[in-house]
Subunit: 404 residues, 2 copies
């Protein structure tokens, strides 16, 4: 049996995005080579909502919620019925399959909240859970926290488009040998890979055959770059009985400060998630829920412009990293880059800390996304364009200095 100490060691969060401020970095002075670099500090651990501000009208929508008073402060645990009603319609249209607002949708405190509830509703001691590697760092932690057993599924992302994707054979093997749940993100965090329609159809069919629950995190599916195609799992012809899709407005829409997410799918699982939410946080903050009224209803052209601006940053950072010979996949969607660095004289966690201290650049170590990714770093490039470019140049310079 896992003790609480072991349980919480597995939840170690010192290198998690946003927590860098708690790290002890004074001991880095001894190994720092050269002086500190000048330049605007850039925190690539998350998007910069000052550079890409929240959806227009979001604070007014919040105020409308506040002014509604009690009915908005105390919603059902799964969220205000009226908001779910219109949201279900828009999310159903976007994902290609209708959603019952009453039974198949829950509003959560961020998509982190949705993931927690979804895994809490499906994983208990001994449950085998297939987890893609690399993928969002909390997936593995959540499975461990609920006592599940991780069955790793490699994601190929360094090949040609036709070679790339999750290892479907490994998924089938896992499903055949007692795996009950598969959790994955598409677009993938940290690589920006979008699962092909073939991969998605295969996963759906395999899950239907072997009665596996699918939890798909589509957080970044709206920020799709030129020429890319997105396939929604819930629009597949063959569907497993249990499927939960997770989306939220924290990234592309920069509404992270509101902590809003949604999960939709199998009614029985949504029901469980609501019961769990009742003891976790009761509900997403009532007034904040009103901000969901802006979601998928942004001003005309706003989303297109936002995507275009991100694509321009993506392209310039790719150029910089590739010129320095960092192998880097082209993100098809979302604002993550996952460059692979050449061998360094210092360990990867140390390099990441040096980067922060010496170059004013915060990134997330690859090891947060799967064991073994010591040589990669993740950047959320939803940043001020010029500052991001200058920071990428500093990363390249730092690698030059600490290279083996």
């Amino acid at each position: 049996m896992t003790t609480l100490d072991e349980k919480f060691r597995a939840l170690e969060a010192d290198n998690a995005p946003g927590q860098e401020v708690r790290q002890e970095t004074s001991n880095l002075n001894k190994i720092m080579r050269g002086e500190k670099y000048t330049g605007i500090p850039v925190d690539f651990s998350h998007g910069d909502v000052d550079a890409f501000p929240p959806t227009p009208g979001s604070s007014e929508a919040w105020k409308n919620g506040f002014d509604k008073g009690g009915q908005q402060a105390y919603t059902e645990y799964r969220g205000a019925a009226q908001i779910r009603e219109s949201l279900a319609e828009r999310l159903g249209t976007f994902t290609g399959s209708p959603i019952s607002a009453d039974r198949e949708l829950i509003i959560t405190p961020g998509t982190q909240g949705a993931l927690f509830l979804a895994l809490g509703a499906t994983v208990t001691t001994g449950t085998k859970v297939a987890v893609v590697e690399p993928d969002y760092f909390a997936n593995r932690k959540l499975v461990k926290f609920f006592g599940g057993e991780i069955v790793p599924i490699p994601l190929h992302y360094q090949g040609t488009p036709s070679e790339n994707g999750p290892d479907l054979n490994r998924i089938e093997d896992a499903f055949k040998s007692g795996t009950k749940v598969l959790v994955f993100s598409t677009p993938n965090n940290p690589t920006g890979l979008v699962y092909s329609s073939n991969s998605i159809a295969e996963i759906s069919t395999l899950a239907a055959t072997h009665n596996v629950t699918l939890i798909v995190d589509q957080l970044y599916s709206r920020m799709l770059y030129s020429g890319e195609v997105y396939t929604h799992l819930r629009a597949c012809d063959i569907q497993p009985e249990n499927i939960i899709t997770i989306m939220g407005p924290s990234k592309t829409e920069s509404l992270s400060g509101f902590r809003l997410g949604t999960a939709f799918g199998t009614a029985r699982l949504i029901e469980r998630m609501e019961r769990l939410q009742a003891i976790v946080t009761l509900r997403a903050a009532g007034y904040n829920q009103a901000v969901l009224d802006t979601w998928f209803q942004e001003p005309a052209g706003w989303m297109q412009k936002r995507i275009r601006e991100h694509e321009a940053i993506r392209d310039e950072l790719l150029k910089i990293f590739r010129a320095a010979d960092f192998w880097t996949a082209t993100p098809q969607a979302g604002s993550y880059l996952f460059p692979q660095l050449p061998p360094l004289d210092v360990g990867s966690n140390t390099f990441v800390r040096l980067l922060r201290r010496q170059a004013g650049v915060t990134v997330t170590p690859g090891t947060e996304f799967a064991p073994g990714y010591n040589d990669s770093i993740r950047l959320n490039f939803s940043q001020d364009h010029a500052a991001a470019v200058a920071a990428a140049v500093r990363i390249v310079k730092m690698v030059g200095v600490y290279r083996k």
Copy 2:
């Protein structure tokens, strides 16, 4: 081993406050005696933030947070350092013992969030947890969810002041026989009983002797009625090593729509709670955290007036219920009443549903707070004074109609 089905059956939330809207009530028509009553519907399942609105300046404080942008959207998981800094000072003063803002305080999504994290940080499969009965309904559900074993501690609340309080002998027995955690609320939810200084000192000393973790929910400790004295556990001379105090501005201050809570105490446990928060919701909504700047800094006289107005409602409802011979303890603090009803012809859950359908009055069944409390109902009387009084009269009338 508990299956997921069993696990979620234990989390059944149909009778939980706020969820009544999801209940099927059409089958009540057959057993309804007489017509529906007229009168303003009153939902005693939670406070009415329209009758007692949020702290003045709360929406402006929120807007200040929003206008701060990225730094307020993405705080450390335990909450924005600057907000914790000033809050720690005010909470330390209120509770009679200093708090380190850096190591001993976490901001959570409501006090529900704080309770979840505190129990998650201390309870795992097989942990024996002493739970007071009756007490806040989520305590028992949380212990079960984390795989703990409930050791019930009776709370005496129907005697004289000197007889009332938790059964200290039972607490000592529990501590002697391997109980690792005690969780309780003071003022007690649902009875409004405030633990005496003697009870608090005894609990603290016993926990220190037997190395038991104390989790105390002081959510309502600011709304203290005339002549009552409140004792803060964390101000005791003899302290156990592990102690967490939970407070938040959702009740007395009517800030529930912001989902804000705090937990403070043992640094090692706060650290664990933060790690857990990282996979549960990341953080309390960033912009909302800014509203904590209004807490314990309300305009002069505002809190006194609020307490006075609640005391007036309390006194009038007590008069109504006592005139009808419903045994009802006098709440010493907080806005809960827990009247005991005479024997009825219908089951307690049915009566509660009839009350909602026929009389427009929503209350929470006593069985939510401990097994066996079929004859009691809980009312949150933080309501419009006149509407609450009229609704209490309807409750008495309904009891007359359905009496055995």
